[in-house]
Subunit: 214 residues, 4 copies
DNA sequence: AATGAATGAGCCTTCATTCAT
DNA sequence: GATGAATGAAGGCTCATTCAT
């Protein structure tokens, strides 16, 4: 019994280390050796528990996704849509700027977008795509039913892309240009508030442009 | 036809192939073998012309940068700032969505942000950072002198990040969610127009929020 | 018999093969492939056990040094200095002419002198230089305190160089000029005796020349 | 006519550079590229003038040998043998310690002894071995006709090895142990004088030991 | 007479994976 | 349940050599 428990603990340590490394370097650049070293376990254990690197990646991604899902509660529909958007954005940004497990999901997602392996496409489509659909609906609620679908989609892209950008900024000194953003919680809130304010105005503008056009 | 060509031609073929592969896969994941195969030359020629992979990367990046710079004329300052922003965004988006050489620069930049090698930081700082400064000034012109610098920076980030996101979408089927954006010129213009409209409204909102604060 | 052995055994086999090859060909000209072939192991095992070629070289040198040190007991100080010199020279020559592990240390040292890598300078200074200092003292004991230091040093060089020369003779047919020295133990003793006799007389001559000068 | 002259000049430049590099690094560690760079000529010229690296080595060696021979006039036989030995040793040491062309021959010889290629064995046997025979005779003249041949040979080895050692000392900081020998002409004379004094005494000692033995 | 261009062979190293215990 | 040992495949780099002009 205790033995099994140890096994699960070891497995978990590998998974945690894998999340760290994969989110930091992406699938290909991550080294199995490095993951094992960080986990403090034997190199062969990866094969023992996960078969191969690819499967470890999928499992790590699944864990990151679960951790993300658990804490990613969308704001209650009773709130006005703008307020729901505000909370959603703050939620995203806080996790993006969180150096701990909070950013694993978003970082792996980004690495996968930048350098696709195709290994997690299916899981992504099954579990994450619906979330994006919720974001779509949220924006649709703000814009009203009359604007064409493409406009809603473009607004959704604008918001998601604004948030995603901050992942990159954490990874490279290049993006900074000496503008040392400090990523404290306070800063996260200021960024989130900015994106919210910026985007709500953007949405409204796109909205009225569309209605004006027709 | 001749077996020993001009040399500059061969060099150029290597460089072009390198731009393709590096922008597609990033420095580490790019294979010198693959670059040579695409260029139709011997593996050792890379050493002959460029010394090593690192230097080839730097040279490829330099070429991508030159190609980018040549066509990246900022709008004349005589135009009102909003119009200049519109043109600047269209310029960026068109090149981002251009499958040919136009997107090399932005793609390599993205790969470098996601997986920094540090090899091009210096060139980036020297040549690209000033461009970002111009974008900063452009937004400052729109916002006026009274808003705090952080607000201007955040707006700049919002715009750049909106544009950058479309590079990711080109690389992965994941981001699409079946929303097959066609990346024709027409589509590029629609996206650019959206970002412009969205962002100008965003900028103004942030602007008035700031002045209201004080 | 078993396919997976103790590991230390394999490590030792690599090390022994490395001593052979490195002492025969020097660092640069030695081929890791050849070492592995001689050790009967896979090429990648070098990386597994030693990291890289440089480190294997350092470890091989260390082993050669240890084997050398263990049997390199200086003659007891109770003996008259001439007798101590006689024993020291015999000790050196016997190991120089020993085709087995005995000559590894001196051969690698020679290769390093002829084609320095700099990889073993530190270990050399720490462990071997003091030995040379002992030889210096031994000669100083013979010469007495009045001769200038340079004379002692030159005598030390004369003795060491006489011994070293026989390493060269073993490596090339060129030096032989058809004078097939057989390197049997008997021959080693005759060479050692010659060098001793030759050198003691030389030392005394230098000694009296110096005292005559003053 | 002038063209041919240029050709000879180029050929000579290659040869001089080859002597430098080969004597410094030995055959295998010398790089054709480096030789050409030092000669200021095209890489392919080596093949044009010399066919391949091996032949260039042989030719470089031949030139070094010629330069050596020209200046290596043995002392006149009219002098007493000890004086002839003194001059011969000074001759060797001066050239050994000469950083310019003087040391090429001895250095290449040493590298060949330490790491034989076998490429110059024949030339060595034909031209150099006789010189060693002269040295043998010189020592024989000192020792007289009664000592066994092996004793003469061992004395010859003692002298040659004493001289050879100083080549190694110039190449590695290791051999020095902080005893910075300065290799000025003055120093060369002191070393030569030491070896002479040391060796003549040594020869005599061996001599009398032998006669005493019989 | 001379050279720029190009190549092939070989080397060291990395790394995921497999084997035997 | 877990691990130390070992390996094969592949990558980047070096370098002497060859080719065409």
């Amino acid at each position: 019994m205790t033995k099994r428990k140890d096994g699960q603990i070891t497995r978990q340590k590998i998974l945690d280390a894998a999340c760290d490394i994969f989110s930091e370097k992406g699938f290909r650049q991550a080294r199995v050796t490095e993951i094992c070293k960080r986990a403090g376990i034997n190199l062969a254990a990866v094969n023992y528990y996960f078969g191969d690197k690819k499967n470890l990646y999928v499992e790590a991604w699944r864990q990151a996704m679960d951790q993300f899902m658990v804490s990613d509660v969308l704001p209650p529909r009773s709130l006005p849509p703008e307020e729901r958007l505000r909370q959603a954005i703050r939620n995203i940004i806080q996790k993006v700027l969180d150096d701990r497990t909070g950013s694993h999901f978003r970082r792996i997602e980004l690495m996968e977008l930048a350098n696709p392996t195709g290994l997690i496409d299916d899981a992504w489509r099954a579990l994450i795509a619906p979330r994006q659909e919720e974001m779509f609906q949220l924006i649709r609620d703000i814009m009203g039913p009359d604007v064409p679908e493409e406009s809603v989609r473009l607004c959704k892209m604008s918001i998601i892309n604004q948030c995603r950008g901050y992942i990159l900024n954490q990874k490279s000194r290049m993006g900074m240009m000496g503008e040392a953003f400090d990523t404290s919680t306070d800063q996260a809130d200021r960024i989130a508030e900015h994106i919210t304010c910026f985007s709500i105005a953007g949405i409204r503008a796109v909205c009225s442009r569309n209605t004006a056009d027709f």
